[in-house]
Symmetry: C2
Subunit: 127 residues, 2 copies
DNA sequence: CCTGTTCTACGAATATCTTCGTAAACAAAT
DNA sequence: ATTTGTTTACGAAGATATTCGTAGAACAGG
């Protein structure tokens, strides 16, 4: 089991963009980042270089303008962070986290139904 | 709207202990911290002093041995961290987070029922 | 070929977090 | 009164994260 590096706050923002867009150049990532955050171009570049060293990103450096891509999956990272959070902030109770999350975010009836279905499937599997 | 300070990793551990125990001395907190972590006493002390400056803790300094207490609620802090997480890692979808959390943590049928009830209540309220 | 633009690499400054040594205040025990 | 132990305060070292300036390579257009 390759234990995964824990991304920092800024690194998570970049990962988020790459998960959504797929492989991208530094410029592209930077442009999106800029919309929500003050940052110089070389700052974004440096961050992505470091992430590459850490193994969080892969890159294709064959052309002059390198292309970066997330090398950790969104799901695995989500799980990693959820586990930590449940552990330190929610007294180890996933249920508590779930209810807290539902309570403060307007979910549409359709979404609620999806969750119900999900619950049912889980119950079947257990037995 | 008092925007809340974001606790660091170590600060969260201390908050967790204070939420559980209620008002405590540095020594008491440190003793518990030690069980899961290598740390010197003055490290814990310093951390708690900083947290006090930041407004994360209140303290009663009337006696020689000060008594500390969390001054941010567990629920509010949970919400703050959840929001950030949903935003940066779950594409803004609380539903996605909920399903991910349920999928990887064995929940008992009783817990699943509680969640179902919760879902129903929410749906009523929306109207 | 020259010029201006875009890109990477590098290194260093800055900021933030974490850890701990030391000293002074205080209290309890001898 | 002196010693011993516990506590706070302070400051600084060490570790990690973030930001950016500068230089040089690569490229595009004239």
């Amino acid at each position: 089991m390759n234990k995964q590096v824990k991304p920092t706050e800024s690194e998570l923002e970049i990962l988020g963009i790459l998960w959504e867009r797929g492989a991208s150049t530094v410029r592209e990532v930077h442009e999106i980042l800029e919309q929500s955050k003050e940052a110089g171009y070389t700052t974004t570049l440096k961050l992505m270089q470091i992430m590459h060293e850490k193994g969080l990103l892969k890159r294709d450096a064959s052309a002059k303008t390198h292309i970066y891509e997330a090398s950790v999956s969104q799901e695995r990272t989500q799980q990693q962070l959820l586990n930590k959070m449940i552990d330190t902030v929610f007294n180890g109770s996933a249920t508590q986290l779930v209810m807290q999350a539902l309570g403060h975010h307007r979910s549409s009836p359709e979404e609620l139904d999806r969750i119900r279905q999900y619950l049912n499937e889980m119950e079947k599997k257990q037995s």
